[in-house]
């Protein structure tokens, strides 16, 4: 099998680029811990309250320490449950100061959902039986829409909330 000399250069260059991409990705994933979310933590979808994080009083945003927060969310068709405010109304918007470290924990009671804080890297599949979680530092201010980005039924596009990151 004969390879033209230019083809050899081209393939070396092409494969070399792919290798560099992979090294960059591997460095980020294995050394800096930027793997996509994969914790394999399971939960009984019919009894999520057995897990403390998803008890009704723990839903929504909780301040853990000065600049650390946890946000627990239960997804159901077609709603994100972020807990209730003082007046007992469902929370739809959460506010977090810039620079905070935030752990998002999401699970579903019914079908598969998506969880994407649009315009950020917080983008997870939410599947029955698993807890999806992602910890990140929110460095960019603004109002971000949380959207369900995996089809969950005829009201899929009505499933949303917002996160506001303020100075």
């Amino acid at each position: 099998m004969h390879l033209h000399k230019y083809e050899k250069i081209w393939l070396t260059f092409g494969i070399g680029s792919l290798v560099i991409f992979l090294v960059v990705l591997a460095f980020g994933a294995f050394w800096q811990g930027t793997h996509p979310q994969s914790h394999g933590v399971t939960i009984d979808p019919e009894n999520i309250e057995a897990n403390d994080a998803f008890k009704p009083e723990n839903l929504g945003i909780t301040k853990v320490s000065d600049d650390k927060y946890i946000v627990n969310i239960v997804a159901t068709a077609f709603n994100y449950n972020l807990g209730v405010d003082e007046e007992g109304k469902p929370v739809k918007d959460i506010r977090i100061p810039k620079g905070s470290t935030v752990l998002f924990q999401v699970t579903t009671k019914d079908v598969v959902h998506g969880f994407n804080v649009a315009g950020t890297n917080i983008n997870m599949m939410v599947e029955p039986g698993y807890i999806s979680s992602y910890e990140t530092v929110l460095d960019n201010t603004g109002e971000f829409t949380i959207v369900c980005n995996e089809y969950c039924g005829v009201g899929h596009h009505l499933m949303f909330a917002t996160v506001e990151v303020y100075e």
Binding site: G14, T34, A77, N149, V154
Partner: protein
């Protein structure tokens, strides 16, 4: 156009065979279904873009997601599978021939697929299967949806087995000879298809059908998804490989050249067989239940599948340059300027090839492990497969249509149809650039895919997205005009074009080409390596998924409007 007498067979085994009337009917039957699907599926696509732009609402209680399910199933599964199987049968018929018995079995595959397609289509049309073409559990469609899908897959297996038999019989008759290149490529594609679709067949037959009928109470969601994506990525290569067949072995003939390298073409196809399947996790990168190290291993394997495409890019440009230089066009790019741009059999696939440059770049990005979070399930992904499947693959298929249909119906591609075809290709390019471009940008801004029109409570981001959705409706409308034109051209080539003989272009090797090494025909070894790679990539993570399974999920039908 280009009436060419079939050369006198001086070396009988090498030359293309003639396709009989009886065979033509078989191949055309697949094409009829393909083009009916194009029309219906395209109409659904138009409706989606219009709904998403906020300009219309669907009448008579039709749901957006019903339209979306129909669009996905009928274009991604029906159009592609029928066109590919019909085209591949014609390639086999032309290069290795088909016996009476094989011919009958081929009809059986057609009818099994048709019964399955009709079952699935009716279930969707009755609104009982608004689960989209990926039918993720635990959303539950009517059992007929799954049974229909299983029949389509089984029908396609019969077609694959016929193809294997065709090559086998030919090889028995031609001991020691290398198989014709196109027959070799078809066999690779059907091998990959059968090995891959076993995954989705197991999911459908073992998991979905008993569960949807109520015989099984729960379903293991992650297992079903993993089996689906074990099939889902090779599925896209099952679409792409027939396009590669045309690029490697048909386009050179159309531009008046020869094969660049028979052995490199075969090598590329073998690599595609190896690395198309053990890569499904790159569709599941943001899922909670799969070990990240195994995700990364499959990312590496995914990058391997880029290599045969790099080889293909070189081969294609080289074919063009060698042909052009031989015709006497000088300079660095003389050969490029003088390509037959006015021959639609070349132009349409050529645009398809160029579209694969951004398409391939997007694919590498999507598969880049943690980077996938930037684009996962945003409408960028929809933009990606509209530029790959719906442009690269589809425009190449259109390019094939212009000569294959008249060849089969005993008609010719006239100058005026050729002109219409060129207009069609340009309309497609403009429409797709606008639509897919807008999807890519909106996706980077976070806009989700698979979603009906929504203002998301009036957030600022959502108000930005809407402009891109309007652009998608503009592109979608232009594309629909392209579809109408293509269906018109298909009808013309089938029933009305002047009688005559249209060439079935198959490129030949150079007279002094270096001989193809025989080890490339070592089928048993290729299959063994393919299976070994699959076992390597999947065994440990799959056992891990099963051992650490949460409780299974009961069926949910109310979210899709059935209860």
């Amino acid at each position: 156009m280009l009436l060419e007498k079939i050369a006198e067979p001086n070396e009988e085994s090498r030359l293309p065979l003639t396709i009989s009337k009886q065979e033509s009917r078989l191949y055309m039957s697949f094409m009829y279904v393909a083009f009916i699907s194009l029309f219906i599926g395209g109409m659904m696509g138009l409706l989606q873009t219009l709904v998403r732009s906020g300009t219309i609402t669907l009448p008579w209680g039709i749901d957006y997601y019903q339209v979306l399910t129909l669009h996905g199933v009928i274009l991604a599964l029906v159009l592609t599978t029928y066109f590919i199987i019909g085209f591949q049968f014609s390639l086999m018929g032309k290069t290795v021939g088909i016996s009476q018995k094989q011919h009958k079995a081929a009809w059986l595959s057609f009818w099994v697929m048709v019964v399955g397609t009709i079952m699935t289509a009716i279930t969707i049309l009755l609104g009982k299967a608004n689960v989209l073409y990926t039918f993720y559990a635990p959303l539950k469609a009517h059992p007929a949806f799954y049974i229909g899908l299983a029949l389509v897959i089984i029908g396609s297996w019969i077609a694959g087995i016929v193809n294997f038999r065709q090559l086998y019989v030919w090889k028995k008759k031609h001991p020691g000879e290398k198989s014709p290149l196109l027959a070799f490529m078809v066999t690779i594609n059907m091998l990959m298809w059968i090995i891959a679709s076993i995954g989705v067949a197991v999911a459908v037959i073992v998991q979905f059908i008993p569960w949807s009928l109520g015989y099984a109470e729960t379903i293991n969601v992650l297992v079903s998804r993993t089996l689906f994506w074990y099939f889902g990525h090779p599925l896209v290569y099952f679409w792409l490989l027939p396009a590669y067949m045309a690029w490697y072995a048909i386009i050179p003939k159309i531009i008046g050249g020869k094969l660049f390298s028979d052995s490199l073409a075969r090598l590329a196809f073998i690599l595609l067989l190896f690395f198309s399947i053990p890569v499904g996790f790159h569709h599941q990168l943001t899922e909670p239940g799969i070990d990240p190290t195994w995700k990364f291993i499959q990312v590496v394997l995914t990058f391997m599948v880029v290599i045969p495409s790099l080889m293909t890019a070189f081969s294609i440009f080289a074919t063009f340059e060698i042909t052009g230089r031989r015709k006497g066009f000088k300079g660095l790019y003389g050969w490029f300027k003088h390509l037959p741009w006015k021959d639609v059999r070349f132009l349409a696939p050529m645009i398809g090839m160029l579209a694969f440059i951004p398409g391939g770049a997007g694919g590498i990005i999507n598969a880049s492990h943690q980077m996938n979070a930037v684009v996962h399930n945003t409408i960028w992904v929809t933009g990606h497969f509209h530029i790959t499947a719906a442009t690269t693959v589809v425009l190449t298929f259109f390019g094939i249509t212009y000569w294959l249909i008249p060849h089969l119906t005993g008609r010719t591609l006239t100058k005026s149809i050729n002109r219409l075809g060129i207009i069609q290709a340009i309309i497609w390019t403009v429409g797709m650039t606008i639509m897919s471009g807008a999807m890519h940008i909106q996706g980077l801004l976070g806009g989700p895919r698979r979603s009906s029109y929504s203002e998301y409570g009036g957030t600022e981001q959502a108000s930005e997205w809407i402009w891109y959705q309007i652009a998608q409706a503009v592109g979608g409308s232009i594309l629909f005009i392209g579809i109408l034109l293509m269906v018109f051209i298909f009808i013309k080539l089938t029933f009305f074009a002047p009688k005559g003989e249209e060439e079935f272009p198959i490129a030949e090797e150079e007279e002094d080409a270096t001989p193809t090494p025989m080890f490339l025909e070592n089928w048993k070894l290729w299959i063994a390596i393919t299976i070994a790679l699959i076992l390597f990539a999947y065994t440990i993570p799959f056992v891990d998924i099963i051992q650490n399974s949460p409780p299974g999920s009961p069926p949910f039908d109310w979210p899709i409007g059935n209860s």
